[in-house]
Amino acid sequence: MTAVPISWFLTLSAVLFVLGVAGFLFRRSVITVFMSIELMLNAVNLSFVTFSYQLKEVNGHLFAFFVMVVAAAEAAVGLAIILTVFKNRGTLNIDDVDSMKN
């Protein structure tokens, strides 16, 4: 047995996605929350590439590429927002940035 079942790749993708969700929900540092989002995007990319292999088409690779581009744009803007929030509030804890709650 030398070939890997395709469901293993998809299960790995699901595990990584759930870990990303866990980090997003449980962590309090805004930078780590942001990294969890990147982890989820990576998991979805693995699914895209796996489906591309299954269908023997290149389209999934293009989608993974676009996800990467959007992730890069999102990281640039998001980290700039984090910088601004830190400059104005002096904290990275998301529980302390709750002025929209009231």
Binding site: S7, L16, L25, N42, V49, F65, V70, I82, L83
Partner: protein, 166 residues
């Protein structure tokens, strides 16, 4: 051989991903995330996605993570304060996440029985040639829109992060 490679790098990816979530210091999380991305690049190569593997290493592990580490250093972010999470998250978080994982794994197993198998070299159309051809014919409009999106992101980042000059 393919199974061994897959298992090695899948285990590395999952262990690093767990490390991302449980480490309290952001810089440890960032380094673990680089580990996840590197092992995912190897898995992309296994799936025949050469271009995406290279882009993963360059764009994700290179550019984006350097940006993260840069911001962590710039803000001098220390270890996360251990404060109580909300009651609902404590009570329902873990069971709901396990339920989500179980549901995803169940449907994956149901929808994709073991008939399709991945072996190295089974898909050879992930080269930069094929990607480029698809990108500049079928996906030309999304590609151009993407360049506008990047431009807007650059402008937004500069506007947000600059010092007030007046």
């Amino acid at each position: 051989m393919d199974v061994i490679l897959f298992l090695i790098f899948a285990v590395i990816a999952v262990v690093c991903a767990i490390n991302v979530v449980v480490q309290t210091h952001p810089i440890s999380s960032a380094i673990s995330l680089v580990g996840v991305m590197g092992s995912l690049a190897v898995l992309y190569l296994l799936l025949g996605a050469e271009f995406i593997a290279a882009a993963q290493v360059i764009v994700y592990a290179g550019a984006i993570m350097v940006l993260f580490v840069f911001v962590i250093m710039l803000l001098n972010a220390g270890a996360e304060s251990k404060r109580g999470r909300s009651f609902m998250a404590q009570l329902l978080g873990a069971p709901l996440l396990i339920a989500l994982l179980g549901l995803l794994a169940y449907f994956v197993q149901r929808l994709f029985p073991r008939s399709v198998a991945v072996h190295f070299g089974g898909f050879t159309h992930g080269t930069p040639l094929d990607i480029g051809r698809a990108l500049f014919t079928t996906y030309l409009l999304p590609f151009e829109v993407t360049s506008v999106l990047i431009l807007i992101a650059i402008l937004g980042a500069i506007v947000l992060a600059r010092k007030e000059m007046d």
